[in-house]
Subunit: 230 residues, 2 copies
């Protein structure tokens, strides 16, 4: 369960959001395959360290999705490195990674890192604004991105991110058709089991995030996709 | 010899340059491992097609290094796809590739394509200007780029391009130290055997280009690196 390829369901916790101990316990003991810690704004060394150490009370695997250099700390089972493929700013293709390697390249275990080909699709999200992502992709564009990840970049993971809004299942289906050999992660706006099931038709891994903070019961129900598969 | 990993020495021919039949024959029958057709300016469907068909009189493998969409034609043994890692314009990271996939993605054999992590280092070269490459990389930067290609992007090939000028062997050595599992290609300014040998200490593959048009005899001598290796 320490490899992304083994994850069907994950919860993503934003270190900038408050979460009480009882909620965190229920999330960590829910049967989800992993906890991803990641966010866009106000991700700091302190709040990442705090959240990681609280998650570490439980046996669930814990991964950090890297969003800035300040908050990269040791102690995670896995580090996810997003390359925002539809960003118009090279910083979010490989610029942050180069800076990270200049600082930490001499001391890291490369086996713990997983490249994610990231496609950001909600124009109103913080991540789309930060990365100046082209969120106007057509289905043809989406198919081309999928082919690129699968056949050219050969990243282990492609992540379709609708951050904060429920995405277009047709786009997800198109992307999956183009990248059969790539682990496809879907994240964005999943608030109940039926939405999780809809996206799980095409995504290999479902990420559930914001609803944890709004309606824990519904969030926990989404873990049932693991039982209902196949 | 149809795979980049088998190439120790290649000649690169610019389709925008004139080359007479006798010169072309000597280049193709030199014992080089492959001919790469590629350039920056004035690479057109017509001149690529013309040069490829002339090279096809000989048995030497022939690859196209893709620089624009108009000049991509069938009939090559291999297609090299550069991602210019130190470009400040996302077009040269993945933008051209996305456009190519939208046009040709339905009909191409992905096995024929090889991704190259490209690092452009001569600020006065056409390719550096076109791609707005950051050619001011330090040795630490170069090492980080190598680690990125080897451990994160895991491209089969990393290409250090000093296009038109003889490069810094220390930079090449640094890059090789950072990417032990990646085929390292060096190109730029090699005009004689001793320069070819110097760069071959650290590069897995040496590219010889401009000197073909200036001093054929010296160009042909560089093929001797194949005999003198290890």
């Amino acid at each position: 369960m320490y490899e992304v390829k083994d994850w069907e369901h994950v919860f993503k916790l934003d270190p900038a959001n408050e979460i009480d101990d009882s909620t965190l316990q229920q999330v960590c003991e829910s049967g989800t395959d992993a906890i991803i810690i990641g966010g866009t704004d106000n991700v700091t060394l302190d709040n990442v360290l705090d959240l990681m150490s609280r998650v570490r009370r439980y046996t669930v695997p814990c991964a950090l999705e890297i969003s800035n250099l300040e908050s990269v700390i040791p102690g995670f089972d896995r580090y996810l490195v997003p390359a925002v493929l539809n960003s118009s700013n090279v910083t979010f293709h490989n610029g942050l990674l180069i800076e990270a390697l200049k600082q930490y390249g001499h001391m890291i275990d490369f086996e713990e890192f997983t490249m994610e080909g990231y496609i950001v699709m909600n124009p109103d999200s913080k991540v789309a604004k930060l990365t100046a992502a082209d969120t106007t992709l057509s289905e043809d564009d989406m198919y081309a991105y999928g082919q690129m990840v699968n056949h050219f970049y050969k990243f282990p993971v492609c992540y379709l991110e609708y951050s904060g809004t429920y995405g277009d299942v047709t786009m997800l289906k198109t992307l999956k058709a183009a990248c059969p050999d790539t682990r496809l992660i879907y994240g964005g706006g999943i608030e109940n089991l039926s939405q999780a099931l809809e996206m799980k038709q095409y995504a290999d891994t479902i990420v559930v995030g914001n609803v944890i903070y709004k309606d824990l019961k519904r969030a926990l129900e989404t873990v049932k996709i693991k039982a209902q598969k196949g």
